[in-house]
Amino acid sequence: MSAEMLALWSALSLYAIAGSLALAGVARARFAEAWVMGLLALGLALHAAAIGVRWERLGHGPFLTMYEILSSNVWSLLAIYLLACWRLPVLRPSAAIVLPVLFVMMLWLATQDPREGHLPPTYRTLLLYVHVGFGKAFLGAVLVAVGLAGMVLARLTRRGAAWFAALPSDQQLDELAYRFLAVALVCETLMLIAGAVWAQDAWGRYWAWDPLETWAFLTWLLLAGALHARSSFRPAPPAGAALAIAVFVLAFLTFFGVPFVTTAPHQGAI
């Protein structure tokens, strides 16, 4: 096994242990915060090493194949989530909700072919990093909001109320989720702008309603609509939580589903 694969599989194993600890901790009302966060941080470091070794070997970043896209997204989503948990300790119990979502991507990653892809000439541009960077920040911010929304919704049940009893009120969690959705909207707007500038250079048109552009715009519209509804009508926390989850589901399908149903050149390598 190569150093890259060894580091990647070690990282995935650490994520799996951290996720199991988070789930067990929430269920037993004894959340081992330090262990979960520590294991995630260690896993991220090993995962970063795996991505770095591959980057050095191939001469380009993880932007091309589904293996690279999934690997880099698992890393960036966890990095953003961990950063948010570090700054906002109230988020930490949401690991029991966020990590199972990421397990889906990790399992998918484990089935992908790790062979290298072909770097198109139009990928040699700074715009790639700007577009992809804002895309990852957008999805990361929505994931954090999903963690908060999941806790609000879980507390609608008796068991969920017991699991997350020590957390602040639903209104406070909802306000925090709203803030992360707002950050996500700014990041997605910048992602779309950078993508349009890049598309103009790469394909001679800034916007052509290809499947990925169509669904990325629909995601933007849903997110903008959710924030607009939140600021204009002040929905109850469970309704706000449901909107946050709807945005994440649509964003996930856009970035990881659309590339499977289209042969358009725009494959959504975020």
Partner: protein, 339 residues
């Protein structure tokens, strides 16, 4: 002395504008736009036609909201964000009225003079492209092992507005820019046999190229039908390689083959021509001058591009400033003191 109390009623238009600019209507229009975008994405109709109505209604809603909602005057960043969104919609509409999308093919040594093979344009697009000219010089297309296209370097020459000769290498994401038009190289390119045709009626000889199908995309189908000017019988042309151009095992550069022949069929006449050969036919003589290359370009014109970018950047900046100002007022950590 008694002073009568006068109750100021809002002007009737203000009530209508407030309704048209209501947040509830905005949400309904978001949903309508979403449906139109999804329908456009499925190819139900051209995107421009489907999106025009919801975007126009949203622009009206936005304009009325800006005019009637006091919250915009209290939150300047939010106002700037919404004004920038309105500008984006108006600019996109102006762009659709005046844009041009097209394609062209041009042989090495030929001059582009405004003729496009495909053309799609807004109703207010003028004829400026017909006054543009550039000459296609040599080009190189690099390939990685396994038929994977890498860089395209296409040399072009033109005269600038002052009449000075200019030359540049364009390709991939670096277009040739002439008078607001952008010419992008495309994956379409190939071989172009050059002929001199003399019709049997003794008219003046005509020189030109015939573009064979794109290479290497249609590597095994390098043939084309061509009817010479004034003739009725088409010629069947087929390029026969006598050397190996493509080695899938290592990097290579697309070039015209040195050793080749051009198989020509016209009715019962069959011949294999090499550069310099002449073939006599019933309707005239065809002289094969040699093999050139042709490059395919897409051409794009939209004068609103820089303004769209400025409006979009302004919208994103204002949105960020609005949220930054709003979230700074309250702590991010529930229960923490205000900073």
């Amino acid at each position: 002395m008694r002073i009568a109390r006068i109750r100021l009623e809002p002007a009737p238009w203000r009530g209508a504008a407030a309704w048209l600019g209501s947040p509830r209507l905005a949400l309904a229009l978001f949903a309508l736009l979403g449906v139109a975008v999804a329908a456009a994405g499925r190819g139900a109709a051209p995107a421009g036609g489907l999106l025009a109505v919801p975007l126009a209604l949203l622009a009206l809603n936005l304009g009325c909201a800006i005019a009637t909602h006091a919250s915009f005057r209290q939150q300047p960043a939010l106002l700037v964000f919404h004004v920038a969104l309105l500008a984006l919609v108006l600019l996109a509409a102006a762009g659709r009225l005046t844009y041009l999308n097209g394609t062209l093919e041009i042989s090495v040594g030929e001059e582009f003079s405004g003729a496009l093979t495909q053309r799609e344009q807004g109703p207010l697009h003028g004829d400026a492209i017909e006054r543009l000219a550039f000459t296609q010089l040599e080009f190189a297309v690099h390939y990685q092992p396994g038929m994977k296209r890498a860089q395209t370097e296409s040399r072009v020459a033109w005269r600038d507005a002052a009449g000075r000769p200019r030359e540049a290498v364009v390709g991939d994401d670096a277009p040739l820019r002439l008078a607001g038009y952008r010419f992008y190289t495309t994956p379409n390119k190939g071989f172009a046999p050059e002929f001199v045709w003399r019709s049997a009626q003794g008219r003046e000889a005509m020189r030109g190229t015939v573009h064979l199908p794109s290479y290497p995309a249609q590597l095994a189908a390098q043939e084309q039908d061509w009817t010479p000017p004034g003739a009725t019988q088409p010629l069947r042309l087929r390029l026969e390689f006598e050397e190996r151009l493509v080695d899938l095992g290592k990097p290579w550069i697309l070039r015209a083959p040195g050793a080749h022949a051009l198989a020509v069929e016209s009715g019962a006449t069959r011949a294999r021509l090499r550069p310099g050969d002449t073939l006599a036919l019933a309707e005239g003589t065809v002289h094969y001058a040699g093999l050139r290359m042709w490059m395919g370009y897409s051409v794009f014109y939209d004068w609103t591009l820089p303004w769209l970018l400025a409006a979009a950047a302004l919208a994103a900046g204002a949105l960020g400033a609005h949220y930054l100002g709003r979230f700074r007022r309250e702590p991010w950590r529930p229960g923490a003191e205000r900073p």
